[in-house]
């Protein structure tokens, strides 16, 4: 029988939640790396026992952990992230030049077919690659150096590269997203990059439809239709049908189009999920009601999903990397909150139940479907 393994990164450690395919009874292990911030944990699609975790601390800096047995044991691997060449400057919050400085790894994206190859999205925004299981890291500096880098500016959470998407159909094509620079695409394995932000409009920047400068919060793709991308921007939910060449808004009837995560149903590429958040100054659900919104039409038309979710007095947030789906026949959807709850739905969002309620603030959620 199939099973699922949910990998949860929190402010104070990592947790691994496992269940059989019914997804009713859960075993919780952790905290792994107790007391450290775990920004992201993700498994290799090529070898589900190979996991990578980003462990960091304001005191002690960055550590990368690797497991070769599905999270039972871990070993620290390489943690040296050196920008290529002279790093130069980006803009600081006040518009002055600021030297590029490594702070932490936000996101780890294992290769689709090689467990030893993994990409890291870091703050200050940069993209790194390891081809030896995380022992050594090398910057793909064509992204930071393609031309617009000196104009990038941090979002409130720092200038982070938080989204890495590998195209399963087009060899060499990958996407990255940066707060607050925007979305970028490479068609040559990350050597060269170009901004793909046409159609985005952001009122918080001087030129609303500038080529870069947009605070993209998250991008999602369905592997069966990789030319279609969905984006949750600072404000606005967007869609591209041409691999980022252009974007159009699909916020439709959402109660608010501010939010952080966005994800796609495992078997229905037109079914997408977001968690509307009140505003950029009120990072909690509207009216204190935690609602996932689902569109079955690829956007524009949205329905609230509330059964099993708190519908009063709920003032948590759901961060950009804290939603994921499994690929069981009845698609499971998962998300974690800053209040420490991890909710699961085994029926594509129709009903929800908490797996755990009292973890530290959840930074990331990933799911592995195991056979």
């Amino acid at each position: 029988m199939s099973s699922v393994r949910v990998l949860v990164g929190t402010r104070k450690g990592a947790f691994v939640l496992t269940s059989d395919g019914r997804r009713e009874q859960w075993e919780v292990t952790g905290p792994h790396f107790a007391g450290w911030e775990i920004y992201h944990v993700k498994g290799s699609p090529a070898d589900p026992d190979r996991l990578y975790a980003s462990q960091s601390s304001g005191w002690f800096g960055q550590v990368i952990q690797r497991s070769d047995d599905g999270g039972r044991t871990w070993q620290a691997v390489g943690n040296q992230f050196s920008y290529d060449g002279v790093p130069g400057t980006h803009q600081w919050y006040d518009g002055t030049p600021h030297p590029w400085e490594f702070a932490r790894v936000w996101h780890l994206e294992p290769s689709l077919n090689d467990p030893d190859t993994v990409y890291a999205g870091v703050e200050d925004a940069g993209l790194f690659r390891s081809a030896d299981g995380g022992q050594t890291w090398h910057e793909l500096s064509g992204l930071r150096g393609h031309g617009s880098g000196p104009s990038w500016q941090p979002g409130a959470g720092g200038m982070c590269l938080h989204t890495i998407i590998l195209d399963p159909a087009a060899p060499g094509r990958m996407f990255a997203a940066i707060s607050a620079a925007g979305a970028f695409r490479s068609d040559d394995d990350g050597k060269t990059w170009r901004p793909v932000n046409r159609g985005l409009r952001s009122q918080g920047i001087p030129d609303e439809d500038a080529e870069v400068g947009h605070c993209v919060h998250r991008i999602a793709m369905h592997p069966s239709r990789p030319s279609v991308l969905y984006m949750q921007k600072h404000w606005d939910v967007m869609r591209s049908d041409d691999a980022g060449g252009s974007w159009r808004e699909i916020s439709g009837n959402l109660p608010t189009d501010f939010g952080f995560p966005i994800d796609v149903h495992a078997h229905e590429p037109d079914t997408i999920y977001v968690v509307p958040i009140t505003s950029d100054s009120l990072h909690f659900p509207p009216e204190g009601r935690l609602r996932v919104y689902r569109s079955r039409t690829g956007g524009d038309e949205w329905e609230p999903l509330t059964e099993g979710l708190p519908q009063r007095d709920c003032y948590v947030n759901v961060l950009r990397d804290a939603m994921a789906v499994d690929s069981l026949d009845s698609c499971g959807v998962y998300f974690g909150t800053t209040g420490g709850q991890v909710y699961a739905s085994a029926d594509a969002g129709d009903t929800w139940a908490p797996i755990v309620r009292d973890l530290p603030a959840v930074l990331s959620v990933e799911v592995q479907t195991l056979s």
Binding site: A34, G58, W59, F60, G61, Q62, S82
Partner: protein, 98 residues
């Protein structure tokens, strides 16, 4: 023998309990102690100072003999009782946060 006391998170990362005991050749300085520590426990590279052996991380402090030695130059000799092993060299995570 040099006695080093690590903060709890770095003890866990290095997989050690209690003090770390190091042999340091030559003059006992911040740099030579940290070099020996990182040689014995490579997982600590980058967690106390940068990978080039440069400045300590901002929230790391070095104490010994009831003194804060954090602002000394890396090649400053450590107090005699640290060099003889009578007193430990404390690597401390600054008090902050929750």
């Amino acid at each position: 023998m040099i006695r080093v006391i690590l903060p709890a998170h770095l003890r866990a990362l290095a997989g050690v309990d209690g003090e770390v005991h190091l042999q340091v050749a030559g003059q006992v300085t911040h740099r030579s102690v940290l070099d020996a520590l990182e040689a014995g426990y490579p997982v600590l590279c980058g967690t106390i100072r940068d990978h080039q052996g440069g400045p300590r991380r901002a929230f790391i402090r070095f104490f010994a003999c009831e003194r804060d030695l954090s602002h000394e130059a890396p090649d400053t000799p450590l107090p005699g009782p640290v060099a003889t092993g009578a007193e430990p060299y404390l690597i401390v995570g600054a008090m902050a946060g929750g």
